[in-house]
């Protein structure tokens, strides 16, 4: 299953190139211009701060796309073929979850390379820890995407729900702004941002790339545990839900 999902992903060369252009255009356009707008008192170097956050945002978006693949398969009748394969339902969903996460990670790898070039020096040990956390985060997001896709079974609703989730959980995280500023702006937003897996991933990545000076991360263990919990929940609960919902049709 993992091999199939990765092979499928690399068939979409056009999409991969376009998404790489998204990433670079966000750095060049939004990152560069917004950094001119932000006070250095709030964030010392907003450009670097944003580039690190953008890598996590891109990883999140790439991992979410496995859900759209599931709808394409349901629409074209490939789902029935997958169900007829000599693998258990659990193996099927676990394979898809790992495949979705892994391909997102492979896709984001070169983009993380670009980020590292922009961000500069790296502490190797911290970077490996943060990379491991991003791996788990990617599997967790892809598990979440699969879980939601099989619960909703409607591509329209899935697309819009992913849009809403993206709007809320990305904006209520530290991807675009530091936690201290979010807390000052609104304590409720700050509370949500403190328990957001994207916050954990973004902060750990900044910590791993050595730009923790512009974030407030006292203990990297806490976000790491948060990401492990997120991964475990959506991988293992996702397997159970997938197992129950996968059959019976009803795809729209």
């Amino acid at each position: 299953m993992v091999e199939r999902d990765i092979r499928l992903f690399f068939q979409y060369k056009f999409l991969i190139i376009i998404r790489a252009i998204w990433f670079i255009s966000q750095i060049v356009l939004f990152g560069l211009i917004a950094s001119r707008m932000i006070s250095t008192d709030a964030v010392q170097d907003y450009f670097r701060y944003y580039v690190a956050g953008l890598s996590v945002m891109t990883l999140y978006s790439a991992a979410i796309f496995i859900g759209f693949d599931i709808y394409e398969e349901a629409e074209h009748g490939v789902f029935e073929y997958l169900l007829s394969l000599p693998v258990s339902r659990r193996q099927l969903v676990l394979g898809r979850s790992i495949g979705g996460g892994l391909r997102a990670f492979i896709y984001v790898g070169p983009l993380i390379g670009i980020s590292l070039y922009v961000l500069g020096s790296v502490n190797p040990l911290s970077f490996l820890v943060s990379l491991f956390a991003l791996f788990l985060f990617s599997f967790g997001v892809s598990g979440m995407s699969i879980t939601i896709a099989v619960i909703i079974k409607s591509s329209d609703r899935f697309d819009i729900l992913m849009g809403v989730l993206d709007a809320l959980i990305v904006r209520l995280s530290t991807v675009m702004y530091p936690l201290a500023v979010v807390q000052t702006a609104n304590p409720l937003y700050g509370g949500v941002a403190s328990f957001n897996p994207i916050t954990y991933a973004a902060d750990l990545f900044r910590w791993g790339t050595g730009i923790e000076a512009i974030i407030t991360l006292d203990n990297p263990l806490m976000p790491l545990l948060g990401i492990i919990a997120f991964f475990a929940f959506f991988t293992f609960v996702g397997v159970t839900i997938y197992d129950r919902r996968i059959e019976g049709g009803g795809w729209q």
Partner: protein
């Protein structure tokens, strides 16, 4: 004309069938205003604060344009779905000319965008200020032209892409290019300054200046906030954009939709 009205009715009925879509779009737009803009308000530099006073106020007109873009773009998604599910054969079998069908689709996309955008524009008026009646009419006319152009753009993409994933990816690319290279999220003066400093390609500066999204956002800002300066040439930008994509989409819809 009657045929076009039938298409409008069909598309408006479809629009209201997608209640989830509308709820989702509104949530996304409001999240931008009430989360992102409020937090950015705390981060803007003194220099920018002198120009725009508050990021929340600055962004509110941009939000109306963002909402207009998202909802006018929805027609493309429906047409892409019709094409994938081969519903377009039914549409082509209707007793009307291809031209009427194509014009009806472009027009309904734009009108649906306007309908969706109105509450966002009203929110903007409530938080900032109310324009005079002539200013309001001009705002609505320019936004209508913009909506038609966006609807045309989305239809052109929809008929040229064969899968939902490709359509969504192309939508993202168009969104990032048009929005980030405009004055929706930040003042145009910042982009121009970066261009003068040699840190931003002049071609992108020019693109931001002639971008119809910049023209529409800045026109509303001028009427409600008194800045940035408003030039009538910006209305020409929107008019040209609307003309290109209305005719382009009509042509593309008529030609590509018939292909196997």
């Amino acid at each position: 004309m009657k045929a076009v009205l039938h298409i409008l009715e069909h598309d408006f009925r479809n629009f209201f069938r997608y209640k989830w879509w509308l709820v989702g779009l509104i949530s996304m737009n409001l999240a931008d205003l009430f989360i992102m803009a409020i937090v950015y308000n705390r981060m803007i530099s003194d220099e920018v604060a002198q120009q725009i006073t508050s990021y929340f106020n600055f962004f509110a007109p941009g939000l109306a344009v963002t909402g207009l873009f998202a909802s006018a773009f929805m027609i493309g998604r429906e047409i892409n779905m019709e094409r994938r599910r081969e519903v377009h054969h039914y549409m082509l079998s209707l007793p009307m000319t291809r031209l009427e069908l194509a014009i009806g689709r472009v027009l309904s996309g734009g009108l649906r965008g306007m309908l969706y955008m109105l509450p966002l524009l009203l929110t903007c008026f409530l938080f900032l200020d109310f324009p005079t009646i002539w200013q309001l009419l001009l705002i609505l006319a320019v936004l209508f032209l913009l909506a038609i152009g966006i609807s045309g753009l989305s239809i052109a993409i929809a008929v040229s892409t064969s899968s939902l994933e490709k359509f969504i990816t192309a939508r993202g690319l168009v969104y990032y290019t048009l929005f980030f290279c405009s004055s929706v999220f930040y003042p145009l003066s910042l982009i121009q300054q970066l261009g003068r400093d040699g840190k931003f390609p002049m071609i992108l500066v020019t693109m931001a200046e002639v971008n119809p999204l910049s023209s529409a956002s800045d026109m509303i800002r001028y009427f409600l906030l008194g800045y940035p300066p408003f030039y009538f040439v910006s209305i020409i930008n929107v008019l040209v954009f609307a003309a290109i994509f209305t005719f382009g989409a009509t042509f593309a819809y008529m030609k590509i939709i018939e292909r196997k």
